[in-house]
């Protein structure tokens, strides 16, 4: 039996179909989840995909965070279910306080879409186990509210505990503090990042590489193993 990975669709989610495809390409079973349903259809892990849920009105992720599906996701995440937030999903995770800090408007104020180099700083989370520590990967980045901020104390704590999971390389595209591209919770089951691994899973498409596939094979291994 393979792992069932859920992908949530909120109104305004855009990359849900891409995330489902990435799950399938990794060999897991993709399961669509709907924001109004509390039930998670017995999935082993959940991906909160990118997009502009609720138009990113008010603040990115602020409205989605209060949806029925998130009540369950928050609950389950606290008891160990793996959750990956990509871009808008990361924003939702910070709004839901499953991850510390907040996402703000890019320092240059523009939407930015580029091939982004990252370093995997923590290869022990549920979503990064297939990478080696320090591995450099290239995946698409595309957002307008991608600047990660948190209080100095929080940042120090994240660094000390190895919870900065990904860092921007070559260029910090948005003014994120300490070049942070993604973080994990202390347990390593909840991971959020701004760049889009689901757009780097096939040759030709997107960046034309498959550097992002490891997120989905990591979770497949992890959930099948446990």
């Amino acid at each position: 039996m393979t792992a069932r990975i859920g992908v949530v669709t909120f109104p305004g989610t855009l990359d849900d179909r891409d995330a489902l495809r990435a799950v399938r390409l990794a060999g897991a079973e993709p399961v669509s989840l709907w924001h109004r349903d509390k039930g998670l259809k017995q999935v082993d892990a959940v991906v909160l995909a990118g997009g502009f849920s609720y138009g990113d009105y008010l603040r990115a992720g602020a409205i989605s965070r209060f949806s029925p599906v998130m009540e369950t996701v928050i609950d389950q995440a606290r008891s160990g279910m793996p959750v990956l937030g990509i871009c808008n999903g990361f924003q939702i995770l910070t709004e839901a306080h499953l991850l510390p800090g907040a996402m703000l408007r890019n320092n240059h104020l523009h939407f930015i879409c580029r091939d982004q180099k990252l370093r995997v700083e923590n290869a022990e989370t549920a979503w990064t186990a297939e990478y080696e520590q320090g591995r450099e990967i290239s995946v698409p980045l595309k957002n307008v509210d991608g600047r990660y901020v948190a209080a100095e104390r929080v940042l120090d704590e994240l660094e000390a505990e190895g919870r900065v999971a990904f860092r921007y390389l070559d260029l910090n595209p948005n003014g994120s503090l300490r070049d942070i591209a993604g973080i994990t919770n202390a347990e390593g089951n909840v991971v959020g990042l701004m760049p889009h691994p689901e757009h780097a899973v096939e040759p030709l498409i997107g960046t034309g590489g498959t550097d992002g596939l490891g997120f989905f094979t990591s979770i497949l291994k992890k959930t099948v193993a446990t």
Partner: protein, 749 residues
């Protein structure tokens, strides 16, 4: 105020109505009275005035646009032609593709962000209304001089608007254009293209048939946006000194549109829709009259049931409102409940506002009283037709006589090098990534090629690799020198771009941006350009499937350059065979395909170095374009070429610069026998491309070119980290990159 009902209108035949203020001419008003056999009611007048405006009725242009049908090439791929929301072409494997380019020029000058955003929103709904899932957008843009202060207001707003809306909808932006020319100073051109994909059986049309079927309005509530916008915008030249004339601006809500897309695709999937129309210009007036006139029966609408954002709107205003993000569907009674459920699922407001009737009239009621009773066809299709006078302007001869061949050319290698750097750094030739990086090109996970490639390409079937490619082009400078040739050059360039990517060109959409049709010189430009485009499409076998006309792009007496923007759609059986522009590997041999002549009229060189526009544009040879395309497509299919880049404005040196920078590799070039270095580098002869051929394929490739009679000249090799023109100069890639990529951020960041 008493309600102006049909009954009231009959009883008060002499009441004066503000037909003039609504942009109607005296004879047009007389015609309406004749159609109705009485004076129109206020609501009827509102409908006729918007629907008979230039924007909706094409009254000045339709006698010329007819040619696209009359001269349409035989083409089995065409499933739905001109006249519907957008044309549909068969791309094989059971798939159909619909695409169209449209303008939102005037609103974007007034409010750049919202104007551009709602331009994208409007074209996306057109595509959706055909039954297709929108899969990509493009944005051909024209601005005033790059260093003009107003361009600093307009460009960032337009770009943010295109991005803000398209990104939020989840549509990858796969290409477009950014052109600067002071002729667009008061009239920037914001054109937007959308392409959608469906299965053949999913094609939907805008018609209301079947008495008893319900008319459902769904999407955003109706507000006071853009009322009269259509008629005021399209009928009169916008004059910014008179704020009273400023139409209300529409504000878009891309989030609402995203819900509309998903909701609409779901009701299509469950086959709940008998007919459908988006609400764009002229709002409900347009949707109801077009649906009713295309169907078999009549239609009855209760305007009171339209959900409003502003309760004080009058019935006339409701009919004319251009509130965004609305659609109108015709649904059989047995499907209404399910239709409503799906709308509720997507948080989309949906309301039955009327039904299809046995009769032949469009009847609209307000508070139970009849305020409209018209034959819908007279509103939708029987608007006036003008045969506007046109005449070749008297300045045309002098302009063409001012030959660019007489301009002083660089005298030394040093000067040549300097001009190369100046050219690739000039705003029109410089890299546009500062702009295009504000657009999401990855979303939907099917983008194979996007900017800065020759064409955008998306995969439409992940299993077979079937894909489509699109390019848009238009060169107003060429068209100014010769509008007939200019239109064909635009077509040829877009066609060539598509072929360079490896796809087979199939069909055309266009957006014709011109000045005032009341000026015979402009009308001549328009007539010539449409004739050129129609003849060109016939010759190349690519039918025009739809498009858009934008007139009155002028400030005072000065019109913009005639600017026909042409979009070509191509198909590729397997996107794995696509050809990128990047020179990515050392040792690849560079071949120049086609003939290079001394052609500098309207060229980028003449503009950048001499600020000159005169002479004749390069000579078009459509047979040559076709042959070149065949070679490029075969080369890609059979794996003979690793990269290809078409040659257009800026000539060879521009193409080589882009391909080298994209691949991060240099090139050593040799000036071929019989050409001087200057002509080699800067000529803009069409029908050419530069290709990078692996050594192992050289013989096969040159044999193919030889056998088919296409000149192929070896001009160098991919090598090192500089562009070197042997015996002339060397420019390190770093220097080239700084020149090419620094300009746009320096101007706008």
């Amino acid at each position: 105020m008493t309600l102006d009902t049909v009954k009231h209108a009959t009883e008060t035949p002499e009441s004066e109505l503000p037909w003039k203020e609504l942009g109607l001419k005296e004879d047009e008003y007389a015609r309406i009275r004749e159609i109705l056999g009485r004076r129109p009611t206020g609501a009827e007048l509102a409908m006729y005035s918007v629907m008979w405006s230039e924007h909706c009725s094409y009254k000045s242009s339709k006698v010329h646009l007819k040619q696209f049908g009359e001269k349409a090439p035989e083409n089995d791929a065409l499933l739905v032609g001109i006249g519907e929301n957008a044309g549909v072409v068969d791309v094989g494997q059971g798939y159909a593709v619909t695409f169209k380019v449209e303008s939102h020029n005037h609103p974007s000058y007034i409010e750049p962000y919202q104007g551009a955003a709602t331009g994208v929103g409007g074209i996306v709904r057109d595509i959706l209304a055909m039954g297709a899932r929108p899969v990509a957008v493009m944005d051909p843009l024209r601005f005033g001089a790059a260093d003009h202060p107003d361009t600093k207001r307009v460009l960032p707003g337009v770009v943010a608007g295109v991005g803000g809306y398209g990104n939020c909808l989840g549509l990858p932006n796969i290409g477009g254009e950014v052109v600067f020319d002071s002729c667009y100073q008061g009239n920037p051109l914001v054109n937007a293209l959308c392409v959608g994909v469906m299965k053949h059986e999913d094609i939907h049309l805008a018609k209301a048939s079947g008495a008893g079927n319900k008319v459902i309005l769904y999407g955003a509530r109706t507000g006071g946006d853009g009322i009269g916008g259509v008629s005021v915008l399209a009928s009169e030249t916008f004059d910014d000194t008179k704020p009273a004339k400023r139409p209300a601006v529409q504000v878009g809500d891309p989030f609402q549109e995203k819900l509309l897309i998903e909701c609409t695709l779901e009701v299509f999937r469950e086959k709940l829709v008998a007919g459908i129309q988006d609400l764009g210009g002229a709002g409900l007036s347009c949707a109801t009259s077009e649906l009713a006139s295309a169907g078999s029966g009549g239609m009855r609408v209760d305007l009171d049931s339209v959900p409003l954002r502003d309760a004080t709107l009058s019935p006339e205003e409701i009919l004319m409102s251009e509130s965004q993000e609305r659609m109108c569907a015709i649904v059989e009674p047995r499907h209404v409940e399910r239709f409503m459920e799906i709308c509720e699922k997507w948080d989309v407001i949906a309301t039955v506002i009327g039904e299809v009737t046995e009769g032949e009239r469009l009847e609209i009621f307000w508070h139970g009283e009849q305020i409209v009773d018209v034959p819908p066809g007279t509103v939708a299709h029987e608007g006036p037709t003008y045969h506007r006078p046109y005449a070749r302007p008297e300045w045309q001869d002098a302009l063409q006589a001012d030959d660019a061949g007489r301009l002083p050319r660089p005298a030394t290698s040093g000067e040549l090098r300097e001009q190369v750097l100046k050219l690739v750094a000039s705003p029109n030739q410089a890299a546009k990534s500062w702009i295009t990086d504000q657009y999401d090109r990855f979303v939907q996970g099917n983008t194979v090629l996007a900017q800065p490639e020759d064409a955008g390409m998306v995969r439409i079937d992940p299993d077979t690799g079937l894909g489509v490619a699109l390019a848009t082009d238009g060169n107003g400078r060429y068209a100014k020198l010769d509008p007939y040739a200019g239109a064909q050059l635009a077509l040829a360039e877009a066609y060539r771009n598509v072929a360079a990517s490896g796809a087979r060109p199939l069909a055309v959409s266009d957006c014709l941006n011109f000045g005032s049709p009341e000026d015979p010189a402009v009308m001549w430009q328009f007539a010539e350009a449409t004739r050129g485009l129609a003849d060109g499409c016939l010759h190349l076998g690519t039918p025009v499937t739809g498009g858009n006309v934008s007139l009155y792009n002028q400030t005072g007496d000065t019109a913009i350059h005639p600017t026909p923007v042409v979009a070509v759609l191509g198909v590729i059986d397997d996107v794995a065979r696509r050809t990128p522009i990047a020179f990515a590997e050392e040792g690849l041999l560079l071949y120049l395909l086609g003939d290079t002549r001394e052609e500098f009229g309207g060229s980028a060189w003449s503009q950048v170095v001499h600020d000159h526009l005169g002479g004749l544009p390069p000579k078009v040879d459509l047979d040559r374009e076709r042959l070149l395309a065949e070679i490029l497509i075969s080369g890609s299919r059979d794996g003979m070429i690793d990269a290809a880049h078409d040659l257009s404005d800026g000539g060879l040196v521009q193409a080589v610069t882009e391909s080298c920078l994209r691949g991060g590799k240099g090139a050593r070039l040799v000036v071929p026998d019989g050409l001087d270095a200057f002509t080699f580098l800067f000529s803009e002869s069409p029908g050419r491309a530069v290709v990078a051929v692996p050594r192992s394929e050289e013989l096969r490739f040159t044999d193919m070119c030889g056998a088919r009679g296409l000149p192929a000249t070896r001009i160098g090799v991919v090598d090192g980290d500089a562009v070197e023109v042997q015996g002339e100069f060397t420019v390190p890639l770093g220097e080239l990159r700084t020149a090419h990529e620094g300009t746009v951020p320096a101007l706008f960041a």
